[in-house]
């Protein structure tokens, strides 16, 4: 501790060797998309529109002066999704972005409230093409073997052994107890999706790490429960979300959608998410007029994927926490 009583943790948390690796990986990601004809774009981090998700808490910024419409509230973006979709609706073909994004109260070995996201969209892609491209990116950058692919229902069946479509919240709670997962009394009242998330984290994710033939392989889980569609299309019988996640060593690295294109459905989902937020004592967030206008004008069929760049660096370096790959993680930012 300096004699002045100033903090001793002013130097970076990451080593220079790590920061050089970060810089190399940024170049490799840019080269990967450049070689495939993607245009790098930059969109606002601060906006009057923000994703409406019951589990995402955006940082609100105020007061607002200059440039932005008067009386607006602004938010730091939890992902660059809305603006990139406006670009797609305005004629974008294949675009990518490397952006800082912000999520309140997310801090841990695999989380930092400010982090770097690689996000891309390509016109005409569906879920299979998006999974292929994400797999290819991992193979190129991390040297992983071609990804093992499982549907959510398959991964669930293998790890939990319970009929996903039949199980209600009470069945899932009983299943958690049978597996020795202890929760507090407030958790007991959780809804079905919350139990699904718990069991996925406790049972399915560890099994995914084991499902890959060796530790350097990726696993893609696709076709999530319709209730976890976020902004993906829902299709099929029983209906499932056309969404996938890619895991490396059991760590969630990327999340992709066959993008929802209906403005009317987006309004409904926003309403549901806001109702959940309200019930949990969180503020409702406004419907995003620019995004809705863009979708009414016509979002082309496309797939979009978001990948956590800091986790990519962590996996490439064989590190076990984000604090090792960030120059200044939240506690010293």
């Amino acid at each position: 501790m300096p004699a002045s009583g100033l903090p001793h943790d002013w130097p970076p948390a990451a080593s220079w060797e790590m920061l050089r690796l970060r810089a190399r990986l940024l170049q490799q990601v840019r080269a990967f998309f450049d070689a495939r004809g993607f245009l790098e774009v930059e969109t606002p981090l601060l906006s009057a529109e923000v994703a409406i998700d019951r589990h995402l808490d955006p940082f609100e910024v105020r007061p607002v002066r200059g440039g932005h419409p008067a009386g607006e509230r602004l938010w730091l973006q939890t992902s660059p999704e809305f603006h990139m979709k406006r670009l797609m609706a305005a004629g974008g073909e294949a675009i990518f972005q490397i952006a800082h994004v912000f999520r309140q109260a997310e801090y841990g070995a695999l989380h930092n409230p400010e982090f770097t996201m690689v996000e891309w969209y390509r016109r005409g892609d569906g879920l299979p093409q998006a999974m292929d491209l994400t797999d290819e990116l991992c193979q190129t950058i991390l040297g992983t073997a071609p990804a093992v692919r499982r549907s959510y229902a398959e991964a669930w069946q293998a790890a939990v052994g319970l009929d996903l479509h039949q199980a209600d919240a009470a069945d899932l709670a009983a299943c958690a107890r049978a597996h020795g997962i202890s929760v507090g009394p407030e958790f007991e009242a959780a809804d079905r999706d919350t139990w699904l998330h718990l069991l996925f984290a406790e049972l399915v994710q560890p099994a995914l790490a084991a499902a890959a033939p060796d530790r350097a392989a990726a696993v893609i889980v696709s076709h999530f429960p319709a209730s976890q569609a976020a902004l993906a299309e829902v299709a099929g019988e029983p209906p499932v979300a056309e969404r996938f996640e890619l895991f490396v060593n059991g760590i969630e690295l990327a999340n992709g959608y066959n993008e929802l294109r209906s403005a009317a459905v987006l309004r409904q989902r926003n309403q549901q998410q806001n109702d959940h937020r309200h019930a949990a004592g969180k503020p409702r967030l406004p419907d995003p007029p620019w995004l809705l206008a863009a979708m009414e004008a016509g979002l082309p069929p496309c797939a979009g994927v978001a990948l956590g760049f800091d986790r990519l660096v962590m996996l490439a370096a064989g590190a076990s926490s984000l604090a090792e790959v960030l120059a200044f993680p939240a506690p010293r930012s």
């Binding site: 589990h55 841990g108 695999l110 997962i181 929760v183 958790f187 999706d193 969630e252």
Partner: protein, 189 residues
């Protein structure tokens, strides 16, 4: 008592579960990109010493536990009860033999221990790391034998038995590490 919600959870927090005080040993934040936050915690029961693993969802809360640590000196034993006094307030506290556990071996009048209070009731006591106690009884030292690897049991003034080198004699003052129950050295008075 106030309560803590998950965003305040961290290592070192003292909380109540089912009426018992717990110390949070670990709290790991887990969250799927499109799902609710989970907090995987390890907590130690401050009365029984057992470790509980429990998962909370974002927004859940735990009641804070009124747990404090005081310095208290051992006064005397009355049947099954051990009587201590807070050195600052002169308030007296009684602990059962069960609560005192193995600490009894090192308790002599005036020994200052650290005591954990829960809702102002004592729940555990820890003697100093090192104590000096008199050897009350042992077999005589073996004359002329200077080998250092020979040991023997002795009875301390507290009534406890420990293993010491063979050269230790009755009436010697010896220093003991209370964490490992090991003899350290002889002390000149």
């Amino acid at each position: 008592m106030p309560s803590y919600t998950t965003s305040e959870f961290k290592k070192g927090l003292k909380v109540q579960i089912d009426g018992d005080p717990y110390l949070m040993l670990e709290c790991n934040f887990v969250k799927p990109g499109k799902g609710n936050a989970l907090y995987k915690c390890k907590l130690r029961n401050l009365i029984r010493g057992t470790v509980l693993e429990r998962t909370f969802k974002g927004g859940d809360s735990l009641e804070a536990a009124d747990v404090s640590e005081i310095q208290a000196q051992y006064l005397y034993r009355q049947g099954e009860m051990f009587v201590f006094m807070d050195n600052n307030t002169y308030e007296q506290y009684e602990l059962t033999a069960d609560q005192v556990g193995d600490a009894w071996k090192y308790l002599k009048e005036g020994t200052v221990c650290s005591m954990i209070l829960f809702n102002n009731n004592p729940i555990s006591v820890t003697p100093p790391n090192h104590v000096v106690l008199r050897v009350e009884y042992c077999e005589p030292a073996v004359r002329g034998n200077t080998a250092t690897n020979l040991t023997k049991p002795v009875k301390l003034e507290t009534g406890a038995e420990i293993i010491v080198p063979a050269f230790v004699e009755m009436g010697d003052m010896i220093k003991i590490d209370t964490r490992s129950d090991e003899y350290l050295e002889r002390v000149k008075e």
